[in-house]
């Protein structure tokens, strides 16, 4: 379609994506503009933030490996606390703490998914709540003032909910040893990513 041939047309001409190195304390920002509105911007923000997404995957693997009750606890508590904490982050704004703390959920949940220890259901529920508070606040505090933060938080929460539900259910359905081992390997990689992030933040 040419602009000449299509008067009154409405088209997005280009989206330029630029990457540049940043100091670790600021390394969590992912200014996302999908062109689809704040709901999808929030969802894309989550999807483009490995430090937010990988702990959710690790939690889902850990919960799925431990059984239905654990998976249910993760699916129920994580999105609820993520949403509430996201709104809190929206109101309060960034806390300005070191980026090194972002590596903690990756290391802890990745290690738990890899080691697959047996814990009570309330333990999984507590981990879900803690991750929801940390992850939701981190993402919720970033879009404040820039776009419609409420919808962005809702978009990120929806993706977190879908992700934890799908991964936990997939791991729960894993019948063969090798599929469970694969899931635990993903957990160990998540922990390794956390260690790398920690090293980067403390360098």
């Amino acid at each position: 379609m040419t602009a000449h041939a299509a008067p009154r047309s409405h088209w997005v001409a280009a989206m330029a994506t630029l990457g540049f190195t940043a100091v670790p304390a600021d390394a969590s920002a992912h200014l996302m503009t999908t062109g689809l509105g704040p709901l999808f911007d929030g969802a894309a923000h989550f999807a483009m933030s490995p430090e937010a997404m990988l702990p959710v995957v690790a939690l889902a693997i850990f919960a799925g490996l431990n059984g239905v009750a654990h998976a249910r606890a993760a699916v129920q508590f994580l999105p609820a606390t993520w949403l509430l904490s996201g709104f809190l982050g929206l109101l309060v704004g960034p806390l300005g703490i070191s980026g090194a703390y972002e590596s903690v959920p990756l290391i802890v949940l990745g290690s738990l998914a890899a080691a697959n220890p047996s814990v009570p259901v309330w333990g999984t529920a507590s981990l879900s709540i803690l991750l929801g508070i940390a992850g939701g606040y981190g993402l919720g505090s970033e879009p404040s003032g820039a776009r419609d933060g409420t919808l962005a938080v809702l978009g990120a929460t929806l993706v977190a909910f879908v992700l934890v539900a799908l991964v936990a259910a997939a791991v729960l359905k894993a019948r063969w040893d090798w599929t469970r081992i694969t899931a635990r390997v993903v957990g160990s990689w998540t922990a390794a990513c956390g260690v790398l992030l920690l090293g980067w933040a403390l360098r």
Partner: protein, 304 residues
């Protein structure tokens, strides 16, 4: 255009964003957003090739994480076709293979197909009312075969009206159309309640007929998205096909994701708490009612 710095070690991605909307022949609104880091803006500026000129000077708005620059430009000849926008300074910060974009005067069929396909996907994903109607249908259908029939009927119906409306055979004013689309969503709320109570109705027995009937309405809504985009003269059937395929792809992706989620929640044995089992019905019906009232008020306001 994606350009990555060669020494990028952080995981950070801060995209700049350029949007150009054509407001009238030869005149465009340009929105250029650049990210800021520690109060410093990304040192990249726009430069338009001759004879593009500014109608209004760039107006800047500071946001906490970015600077948004808005201006109106115009071209005296054939619009932006064949023109180039350079990103001045981009070559100093990254290693781009092409620090500019060019608006092709004669885009190939693949480029045009991509534009219309992406617009179709964009339209369905932005159309929360269309998605909510499809979601309502998913709560009503009771078997895979019925699901197939219902989604197919909705697809066939909106494809028919999308085609006739785009070709100018039938025209429905936007305000009453939007009110009727909202009404179709509200209609599904009580039907979901009936399903949950184990009752039956014509809609529950034959959801595909209802999907077909209301799909005709939704197709007119899709047509508004396509006509707003603009149609290439002499290539309307092709644009129509690609736009429709984009709508179907977006719709199928949505249906697939919802079905996967339903299956996952079933295997995890997640159920809505006691007393909240009808939440989906209230969500669909309530939003449908809200939109219906809102759009009827807008329609009556337009008439007054």
């Amino acid at each position: 255009m994606v350009s990555l710095v060669s020494h990028a070690g952080a995981h950070e991605i801060r995209p700049a964003y350029l949007q150009i909307d054509q407001s009238s022949p030869g005149r465009y609104t340009v929105t250029w957003r650049t990210p800021t880091l520690s109060g410093m803006r990304l040192p990249v500026a726009l430069r338009f090739s001759e004879p593009v000129r500014n109608v209004t000077e760039p107006a800047e708005r500071n946001l906490p994480d970015s600077i948004v620059e808005t201006r109106i430009i115009e071209t005296p000849d054939v619009g932006l076709s064949g023109k180039r926008i350079e990103f001045v300074g981009l070559q100093a910060t990254v290693k781009p293979s092409q620090p500019w974009i060019e608006f092709s005067a004669n885009p190939g069929p693949f480029a045009a197909a991509r534009v219309y396909f992406a617009s179709g996907v964009h339209h369905i994903l932005m159309g929360l009312d269309h998605l909510l109607f499809v979601l309502g249908l998913l709560f009503i259908v009771r078997s895979r075969w019925m699901l197939f029939k219902t989604i197919t009927a909705f697809t066939v119906a909106h494809s028919i009206t999308l085609a006739v409306a785009t070709l100018g055979e039938v025209e429905i004013p936007a305000l009453p159309l939007n009110a009727m689309i909202a009404l179709s969503i509200m209609f599904l709320g009580p039907e979901i309640v009936r399903v949950w109570r184990g009752q039956t109705s014509f809609t529950i027995r034959h959801p595909w007929i209802v999907a077909f009937a209301f799909g005709l309405l939704h197709g007119f809504g899709f047509a508004s998205g396509l006509t707003a985009l603009g149609l290439p003269q002499g290539d309307i059937p092709f644009a129509l096909l690609m736009f429709n395929l984009g709508v179907e792809a977006g719709q199928l992706a949505f249906v697939g994701l919802v079905l996967l989620l339903f299956a996952a929640l079933k295997s995890i044995e997640v159920r809505l708490p006691r007393g909240m089992e009808l939440l989906p019905a209230y969500l669909v019906g309530g939003l449908g009612a809200y939109w219906t009232i809102d759009r009827v008020v807008a329609m009556l306001g337009g008439l007054a």
